[in-house]
């Protein structure tokens, strides 16, 4: 038995993303953000996107470039406090923002990746976060048990990995892991970028973070650009 080679040209991979697509983007702050894939999506200009990302990066980098370029209709996120442009767009009514508590966001994505429909949690049950959400009572238990949080899937996931083999097994470095594993699972088509594509067998099967069945396209980056460095403040 042998395994498929999933390496692809960056333009060809991003070309798959049409107007109106929903796109998950890995990263928590800068670490794990697929800056090169995002920049290609900016260059390509796909419009009316729904972007799902933990945060909105900082001004002038990462998904802020998509926001500034008017490509995004809706952002599903946990926190945009470091991006004043995103806050301004939201306040001006030109960007719809759905806020989700961070761990609930991660779990809604993971649940979708696990092929499940929803989960029940007591997180936020006594606050305005529960407004408008379906509540669930459990058989044999008095009172409302929790809020129903629905699975969050997407058409595409853009992933940044430290390392990949040609079949698409991925490993991440330190806190660059964050949302990438769950997003790779939850998208109908997952595109991963990395500077380090190694031959089959060069990643210890015990040290694979994202198994290749979750990865569809693999883009080789010749080098990391300046954006990958955490911003000085």
């Amino acid at each position: 038995m042998t395994l498929a080679n999933k390496t692809a040209d960056i333009a060809a991979a991003i070309k798959l993303i049409p107007d109106g697509a929903s796109v998950m983007v890995g990263g928590f702050g800068s670490p794990g953000t697929p800056f090169c894939l995002i920049e290609q999506l900016v260059k390509q200009g796909s419009k009316n996107l729904t972007i799902i990302k933990n945060d909105a990066n900082q001004n002038d980098m990462g998904i802020d470039l998509l926001l500034q370029n008017g490509q995004v209709d809706k952002l599903i996120t946990s926190h945009i406090g470091l991006n004043s442009n995103a806050i301004a767009l939201m306040n001006a009514g030109s960007l719809e923002v759905e806020f989700v508590p961070q761990g609930i966001l991660a779990e809604r994505i993971r649940i979708a990746g696990a092929g499940l429909l929803a989960f029940v949690t007591d997180v936020g049950i006594d606050t305005s976060l529960a407004n408008g959400k379906q509540t669930i009572t459990l058989k044999g238990v008095d009172g409302v048990a929790g809020i129903l949080e629905t699975a969050l899937s997407a058409d595409f996931a853009l992933i940044h990995a430290a390392r990949a083999d040609t079949f698409g097994n991925l490993s991440y470095a330190a806190t660059a892991q964050n949302f990438n594993p769950a997003m790779a699972m939850a998208a109908r088509l997952t595109i991963a970028e990395t500077t380090d594509i190694v031959p089959l067998g060069d990643i210890d099967p015990d040290c694979v973070h994202t198994p290749a069945p979750f990865v569809d396209k693999l883009v080789h980056l010749p080098e990391l650009t300046e954006a990958y460095n955490v911003i000085k403040r």
Binding site: M1, L200, P211, A212
Partner: protein, 218 residues
């Protein structure tokens, strides 16, 4: 089932595996398909106990005690394999990443219902991973003897055993025939060498849609 008939069935079923599929082979007969794939065939074999990229089975003396497939056979990984936990393994299954699963059967119904985990009152071992495999793989094929050891048909109009999953089987490979589950019922696709059309009809407890021309043999 003669070992010839079995080989013919498995060899024919192996043709259902297209290049670069992700495939889960159920415990028992289905695992036997492997020997009929070319050695360098591009396919990723998944086992629900936590591996993608299964290679050849290995002898006990060479076995890694931590490395088995879901049936308990000692296996080797191919280059590019990955190991993961059970929750992730079934995330692969339920999220539709399996292109194909090959399962055994107690009964298959004309509408694709599958019963393969429980014979009430006689055998109740639990379903293991069969329910999710049957319900969630993109394509589900069954390899089974056409009749049980008492000669009773296993392909039936309606299952009377508890179902593994409804309406899930796409194709059935037996020692006697290849059958496709269609919206209109079971379509006879091929007949195994040495069997007549009437043999297949007699051994099947569901109506068969017959092809216009004489069905090819395999």
């Amino acid at each position: 089932m003669s070992s010839n008939a079995k080989s013919r069935m498995l060899s024919r079923a192996a043709q259902d595996i297209a290049p670069n599929m992700i495939v889960n082979l159920g415990i028992g007969l289905p695992t036997g398909l492997l020997q009929f794939l070319p050695q360098d065939f591009p396919v990723c074999l998944h086992s629900e106990n936590g591996i993608a990229g299964i290679g050849p089975q290995v002898a006990y003396d060479d076995a890694d005690r931590n490395l088995i497939d879901a049936g308990g056979a000692y296996i080797s990984p191919i280059k590019g394999a990955s190991y993961f936990d059970s929750a992730t393994s079934f995330a692969i299954v339920r999220s539709g990443r399996l292109d194909l699963t090959v399962l055994g059967a107690f009964q298959v119904a004309a509408n694709g219902d599958l019963a393969n985990w429980m014979i009430p009152g006689s055998f109740t071992p639990g379903a293991g991973g069969a329910i999710e495999l049957a319900q969630k793989a993109k394509r589900v094929i069954v390899t089974t003897m056409h009749t049980d050891k008492n000669g009773k048909p296993k392909i039936v109009e309606n299952c009377n055993l508890p179902l593994t999953a409804k309406n899930c089987v796409n194709r059935i490979y037996t020692d006697m025939a290849v059958l496709d589950v269609t919206d209109n019922g079971l379509l006879l696709v091929e007949i195994a060498e040495g069997n007549s059309l009437q043999d297949v009809i007699n051994a099947t407890a569901a109506p068969l849609i017959l092809p216009q021309a004489e069905p090819p043999t395999f």
